[in-house]
C-alpha cells in the first residue's frame, strides 16, 4: 500500500441552526479515491471551494470521513489510537504563515512539534538544527517570527513540520498569501525536501506554475477528482482546465493558441524551452515540406 490511500471518501459539512439542530448538509468531498506512493511529489489543484482543503484535513485527522476510509502509512484515520502516530507521519503546513507559528523565536517554534512528541532534549536540538538547515533558515534561528517576510515565515512553518521527521508533508495553499519571491522560496524549499530527503509531498494550490516538476497532478472540482495524470497530461487539456476555473501558464496557453492557429506542436508544453524547441522542429518540417513542394 502507498503512503496514503484514500478510498471512496465522502465528507459532509453539517450546518446547524442556533439551537444546534441540523439544518442541512453540504457535500465537500464526493467519493474520492486516490493513492500516493512514498517519495512522490503530488499536486492537488482546484479553485476555492473545490474541496481540496477539506481533503487535506483528512490526511492529518483534523477531519474524519463521513463515508469511506483514509489510510496514512497503513493506519486507518478513523481509529482513535492511530491519531498521534498519523499526525507525526503526515505533517501539515497551512495557508496563513502568521497563524501557525507558535514560538516567539524561530528555533523554539521549530522545536514545538518534537517537544509535544516527547523527544529527549538533546535530540530536539539535533532535529531543530537539521530542520533549519533543510529550509535554509539557520541564519534566522534567534529571530522573532514577526520580523520575517512571508516566505521566510512559511519556511519556518515547514521546518517545524520537518523537525517531527514526518514521512509525508501536506501543504495547504502555502503560497496563497505570499508575493512572487516568497512563493518561489517556498516551492524551491519543498522541492528540495522531496529530492534530497525523499519526503513525500502533497502540495495543494491554485497556482499553475507550481505544478511543473510534479510526479502526479490531481484536479478537483465540486468535491471530485475530475482530472489526473502527469503535469504534461493535465496541461494538454487547456479547455477542460478553463472549464474548472483554472488557468494555465502563459507558455502553455500560447502553445495551445498557436496550435489552434495551425502550428503543429505537441500537447502540454510547460516550459519556454519546450516551446522554442517545438517551434524550431515545426519550422524545419515546414521548410522540408515546402522544398518537396517545389
Amino acid at each position: 500500500m502507498g503512503i496514503i490511500k484514500i478510498k471512496n471518501l465522502v465528507h459532509d459539512y453539517i450546518r446547524r441552526d442556533e439551537e444546534g439542530n441540523v439544518e442541512g448538509t453540504s457535500r465537500a468531498i464526493n467519493k474520492v479515491s486516490l493513492e500516493v506512493e512514498k517519495g512522490q511529489f503530488i499536486v492537488i489543484l482546484g479553485h476555492n471551494g473545490s474541496g481540496k482543503s477539506t481533503l487535506a484535513k483528512h490526511l492529518n485527522v483534523i477531519l474524519m470521513p463521513t463515508e469511506g476510509s483514509v489510510w496514512v502509512n497503513g493506519k486507518d484515520t478513523a481509529e482513535e489510537r492511530n491519531l498521534w502516530e498519523i499526525r507525526q507521519s503526515a505533517g501539515m503546513v497551512f495557508q496563513n504563515p502568521d497563524n501557525q507559528i507558535i514560538g516567539t523565536v524561530v528555533e523554539e517554534d521549530v522545536g514545538f512539534g518534537p517537544e509535544n512528541m516527547g523527544v529527549p532534549t538533546d535530540e530536539i536540538w539535533q532535529r531543530v538544527d537539521a530542520a533549519l538547515r533543510a529550509v535554509n533558515m539557520v541564519a534566522y534561528r534567534h529571530h522573532s517570527p514577526n520580523k520575517l517576510s512571508g516566505g521566510q515565515k512559511q519556511r519556518v512553518a515547514i521546518a517545524g513540520v520537518v523537525a517531527m521527521r514526518p514521512q509525508c508533508i501536506i501543504l495547504d495553499e502555502p503560497t496563497a498569501m505570499l508575493d512572487p519571491v516568497g512563493r518561489k522560496e517556498v516551492i524551491e524549499t519543498v522541492r528540495e525536501l522531496n529530492e534530497k530527503e525523499n519526503v513525500t509531498v502533497i502540495l495543494i494550490t491554485h497556482y499553475m506554475e507550481e505544478v511543473i516538476g510534479a510526479d502526479r497532478v490531481f484536479v478537483m472540482d465540486q468535491g471530485e477528482v475530475v482530472l489526473q495524470g502527469t503535469p504534461k497530461e493535465v496541461f494538454s487539456q487547456v479547455e477542460l482546465l478553463k472549464k474548472y476555473r483554472l488557468d494555465v501558464p502563459q507558455v502553455t496557453e500560447l502553445a495551445y493558441e498557436l496550435k489552434m492557429a495551425g502550428v503543429e506542436l505537441e500537447d502540454g508544453i510547460l516550459t519556454t524551452k519546450e516551446l522554442v524547441e517545438g517551434l524550431k522542429r515545426y519550422l524545419l518540417r515546414e521548410k522540408g515540406k515546402d522544398r518537396e513542394g517545389k
Partner: protein, 286 residues
C-alpha cells in the same frame, strides 16, 4: 490633473534602531482618467505611497497636491480627500463589520453626511457595479465566499463615489477565476465610469492586460515609470529587484535569440501569438 506628488519622503522610527526610509524623494503625477499599475516587491514602499495619496499617512517632507490644492494646507479637508481618493486595502474583507452587506456598503457614504436616500442610492449603485447579486444584499457579510466578500468591501469604497480609486492587491489570495472577475470589474469601472485607477500588484501578467502605464518601485524609489512595453524591456533589472516580466516577455526574448524575428515587446498571449505567426510565415518564405 488629479494628483501630484512632489519630493515626498517618508521616514518612520526616526531616532531608533528600526529607522526606515520608506519613501525617497518621490515625484509623480497622476492624470485624470489614467489606469496605472503600481508594482514592487513587499517592502518596496508601494503601500506606504498609496496611503500618502489619501492623507492616511503624512509625508515627512515634500508636498502632495490634489487638483492643484496642497493637501497639507490647514483648511484642506482630509475627510473630503478620502472620499475623492478611495483606497481599498489589501484583504479589504477584513474591514467588514455590519450585520448585512447593504448596511456595510452604506458606511462610507453615511460618514460623508449624506441624506439617507442618497446613501442608499449610492450603496445600490456600488454593489451593482461590482456585480453582486441583489439577493445577497441582506445576507451577513461573513457568510459570503471569499470573492464575494472582497467585492462587498470594494463596493464599500466605491459607494463614496471617488474620482480616484486605489486598490492594494485586490486579487491577493483569490483563485484564478475570482482574480479575473475582480480585475474585469475594475477594468469596467475605468472604462464606463472614467474613474482614475491605481492598481497595486505583484503580478505583471495581471497588470499587463489592463494598464497603459506602470510605476515600478524599489527600496522607496520609483525605478521605472513607463508604458508596460518599455518597462518589460528591463526584464533583467526587474529580476534583480525581486520582480519578473510576464512569462510572454521571456518566451519572446528566447525565440528572438534563437533566430525567430518576433516582436519582443509583446506583452499578452494574444500579441505574442500574432507575432510568432508572422515570424513563422517570414521564415518559411525566406
Amino acid at each position: 490633473m488629479a494628483i501630484r506628488v512632489e519630493n515626498v519622503n517618508y521616514i518612520y522610527g526616526e531616532g531608533t534602531a528600526y529607522k526606515i526610509h520608506a519613501l525617497k524623494n518621490i515625484n509623480l503625477t497622476i492624470q485624470d482618467g489614467e489606469f496605472i499599475g503600481l508594482i514592487g516587491h513587499t517592502g518596496s514602499g508601494k503601500s506606504t505611497l498609496t496611503q500618502h495619496l489619501n492623507g492616511l499617512v503624512r509625508a515627512s517632507s515634500g508636498k502632495i497636491y490634489y487638483n492643484d490644492q496642497d493637501i497639507y494646507e490647514e483648511k484642506f479637508s482630509m475627510k473630503e480627500l478620502r472620499s475623492k481618493v478611495g483606497l481599498v486595502f489589501q484583504y479589504p474583507e477584513h474591514q467588514l463589520f455590519e450585520v448585512d452587506v447593504f448596511s456595510d456598503v452604506c458606511f462610507g457614504p453615511k460618514n460623508l453626511g449624506l441624506a439617507k436616500e442618497e446613501v442608499e442610492k449610492r450603496a445600490e449603485e456600488a454593489l451593482k457595479s461590482v456585480g453582486l447579486d441583489s439577493s445577497l444584499y441582506k445576507a451577513s457579510p461573513f457568510e459570503l465566499s471569499g470573492g464575494q466578500k472582497r467585492r462587498v468591501a470594494i463596493a464599500g469604497v466605491l459607494a463614496m463615489q471617488p474620482e480616484v480609486l486605489i486598490l492594494d492587491e485586490p486579487t491577493a489570495g483569490l483563485d484564478p477565476k475570482g482574480r479575473d472577475e475582480i480585475l474585469d470589474e475594475i477594468g469596467k469601472l475605468h472604462q464606463e465610469r472614467k474613474i482614475t485607477i491605481l492598481l497595486v500588484s505583484h503580478s505583471m501578467e495581471d497588470v499587463a492586460r489592463y494598464v497603459k502605464r506602470i510605476i515600478v518601485m524599489n527600496q522607496g524609489n520609483v525605478q521605472f515609470d513607463q508604458t508596460p512595453k518599455e518597462v518589460f524591456r528591463h526584464y533583467r533589472e526587474l529580476e534583480k529587484i525581486g520582480l519578473a516580466a510576464p512569462q510572454v516577455t521571456y518566451i519572446m526574448n528566447e525565440l528572438r535569440q534563437n533566430g525567430f524575428l518576433v516582436d519582443t515587446d509583446s506583452t499578452t498571449v494574444k500579441e505574442a501569438k500574432d507575432s510568432i505567426l508572422r515570424a513563422l510565415q517570414g521564415r518559411r518564405e525566406s
